[in-house]
């Protein structure tokens, strides 16, 4: 834990040294929310009935989707990102030569990404609130739990990508495929049940579908947590299966990289 915190602190200090970039990034978040607000207002009448079980307010619906997307992007991209830059700079070699466990190192290296995403999400949420979003504040704990499960369900994809990166020097299109599929089939911009033909069946295979539905129902509609337990349980199932598979893939990739010499090979 100490190792993880030290790595997060190091990344935080590094980011703080680029103050202007940090400010611009936060301002960028704020600016990106405003157009979405006007777009959502324009489509409110069309969408209201379709999302009535998820708060009925299209801007809030989109805002929750955007925040969840920010988190899953971090979950999917952070690990291969740090592995890739770590290999290029030699940092990975230096870190792997220390006594710290692999879990502490991975958590420490991606931890800052989540801290920063949380900060950006707070700015998004604050902007949303200022623009009139209504949240069910009593559901904050269950919402936090669901959001954590969403992140945990997507971290394995980051581990899969990192495994490819370690073994073959490239993660290929995996992160992009996961993110694009989740954005369009997971219910970020519209509820999945309005999709035509067989597409809703595809969305059933995407963890975000369950996470977002549960999140919106509790946070925007105020549905009690026990009512969303089926979705949460499915999400938890994704977490268990994907985590086990991805840890196996990472262990194998590390073993392969140590055997083939691609670990820390520039």
């Amino acid at each position: 834990m100490r190792e993880t915190c030290a790595l997060i602190l190091a990344s935080w200090r590094t980011a703080l040294s680029y103050r202007l970039s940090m400010v611009f990034s936060l301002v960028g978040v704020l600016v990106s929310v405003v157009p979405v607000y006007y777009l959502a207002r324009a489509l409110q009448t069309t969408m209201a009935q379709k999302i009535e079980l998820q708060g009925g307010e299209y801007f809030a619906f989109l805002l929750v989707g955007m925040i969840a997307t920010a988190f899953i992007m971090t979950a999917v991209n952070a690990i291969p990102g740090v592995v890739s830059s770590g290999i290029a700079t030699g940092t990975l070699e230096a870190l792997l030569s220390t006594r710290a466990s692999l879990t502490s190192l991975v958590a420490g290296l991606i931890g800052y990404g989540f801290v920063w995403t949380s900060l950006r999400s707070v700015v998004m949420l604050a902007t949303g609130l200022a623009l009139g979003v209504h949240l069910v504040w009593s559901a904050w704990l269950s919402s936090l739990l669901i959001m954590t499960l969403i992140v945990l369900a997507y971290l394995p994809f980051g581990l899969f990508a990192a495994s490819l990166q370690l073994a073959f020097r490239t993660a290929g299109p995996l992160p992009s495929i996961v993110l694009i599929a989740s954005s369009f089939l997971g219910g970020v911009y519209y509820p999945t049940h309005i999709m035509p033909s067989w597409l809703p069946r595809l969305s059933d295979a995407i963890p975000l579908t369950y996470g977002l539905r549960a999140l919106r129902e509790t946070l925007l509609e105020g549905i009690p947590f026990r009512m969303v337990i089926p979705d949460v349980a499915t999400l938890f199932g994704f977490v268990l299966v994907l985590t086990a598979l991805s840890l196996f893939a990472l262990t194998e990739a590390l073993h392969y990289a140590r055997r083939s010499g691609t670990l820390a090979q520039y």
Partner: protein, 359 residues
């Protein structure tokens, strides 16, 4: 021609043998698959050609010893170091660091061994030197307070105590190299791996850095140091013993003096003039001398011939007696003292060639 097998660890008649073994390599081998073109991969998708990078390397390094690993680029030095640092698995053979096996006890190996990653980019450039060291102190298992104290101590050791609070981006290459050493030392390792530590330094900084390594790391910190370099002067200046590696094979191990004695004793120069050629040809014919070349001519017009005298000093009297008998004018006849670079070239030529013949 006699083939030379991979040398067994050489027991030098020096103080080093009295010390316990710190690093032991036993038949360590590694090969990598060769990169293939698209067409070749499509034609023969299952065939893999391997390139041997490290071949049956055996050696022992004693506690507190400064051991040089010399060889040209591609000799296998870095791969050998990566295997010792547990970053690459060997295909065959074993190695122990302070008694711990590099495969079975990899976490323990990481406690006692620290590779000095020479790439400056592996530092956190936007953090101060002190913050870099504090971070790695924690990663090496120290608590926050101990890490801070150790960071301060090491900044003094590497001579960066005045600049410890400055960000690394403002450091010169020499300062960064010192910081990389400090980073490696923060966990209190017993064995340090230095892979070409002066490659990015100018000659003056490199000399200062070598003095630092000799006085501080070997002298005061009492670390066992394995130094991989292709800079022979650096090895000569720093190392108690050196090993010559070429194409992954360990060709010779010993002190520079011993290697010189074994491999450079046969080269001589003769200052002569006039009709010396028939006498020299006769010596070559009898096998007393070989590989005779005209090395040059001095200011007084004497031709300088370079030759090998198999048997070294024991046969030189015979050479001189014969030349005198043949009335060959002789101004000087002396043994050539080889530089370490020449010596290594000779070792690589002789033993590498011999092993290739055997193969």
């Amino acid at each position: 021609m006699t083939g030379i097998a991979t040398p067994t660890p050489v027991q030098e008649p020096s103080a080093a043998t009295a010390r316990p073994v710190s690093v032991s390599l036993d038949g360590l081998s590694k090969r990598f698959p060769m990169r293939r073109g698209w067409m070749d991969t499509l034609r023969h998708p299952r065939s893999v050609t391997y390139v041997p990078v490290v071949q049956h390397v055996s050696a022992e390094v004693y506690e507190g010893e400064f051991f040089g690993l010399l060889g040209p680029n591609g000799a296998g030095k870095t791969t050998l170091f990566k295997m010792l640092a547990t970053l690459i698995f060997p295909d065959a053979g074993t190695a122990t660091i302070a008694g711990y096996d590099i495969i079975q006890d990899a976490p323990r190996v990481r406690r006692v061994l620290a590779p000095v990653i020479a790439d400056e980019r592996s530092l956190y450039w936007r953090l101060s030197a002190r913050e870099n060291l504090e971070l790695y102190g924690v990663l090496q298992g120290l608590d926050s307070r101990a890490s801070k104290a150790r960071a301060d101590e090491l900044l003094t050791v590497v001579g960066l105590d005045d600049t410890g609070l400055k960000i690394v981006a403002s450091f010169s290459s020499g300062m960064k190299q010192r910081l990389l050493i400090a980073r490696a030392l923060i966990g209190g390792p017993r064995v340090l791996l230095l892979d070409e530590p002066t490659r990015s330094l100018d000659p003056i900084s490199a000399r200062q850095f070598r003095a630092f390594l000799r006085e501080e790391i070997a002298g005061r910190q009492r670390c066992t140091v394995l130094l991989a370099t292709h800079n022979t002067e650096e090895a000569l200046e720093l190392c108690d013993r050196v090993a010559v590696l070429d194409h992954g094979r360990l060709l010779a191990t010993g002190t520079a003096e011993r290697l010189s004695r074994e491999n450079g004793d046969e080269l001589y120069r003769l200052w002569t003039r006039g009709a010396h050629q028939p006498a020299i040809d006769a010596l070559v014919e009898r096998g007393v001398v070989r590989d005779v070349d005209l090395y040059g001519t001095d200011d007084d017009g004497w031709s300088i011939l370079e030759m090998e005298v198999p048997g070294g000093p024991d046969r030189t009297a015979q050479v001189l007696a014969f030349l005198t008998e043949q009335h060959v004018p002789i101004a000087r006849f002396e043994r050539v003292t080889l530089s370490l670079a020449d010596l290594i070239e000779r070792i690589v030529e002789r033993r590498g060639g011999a092993e290739a013949d055997d193969a």
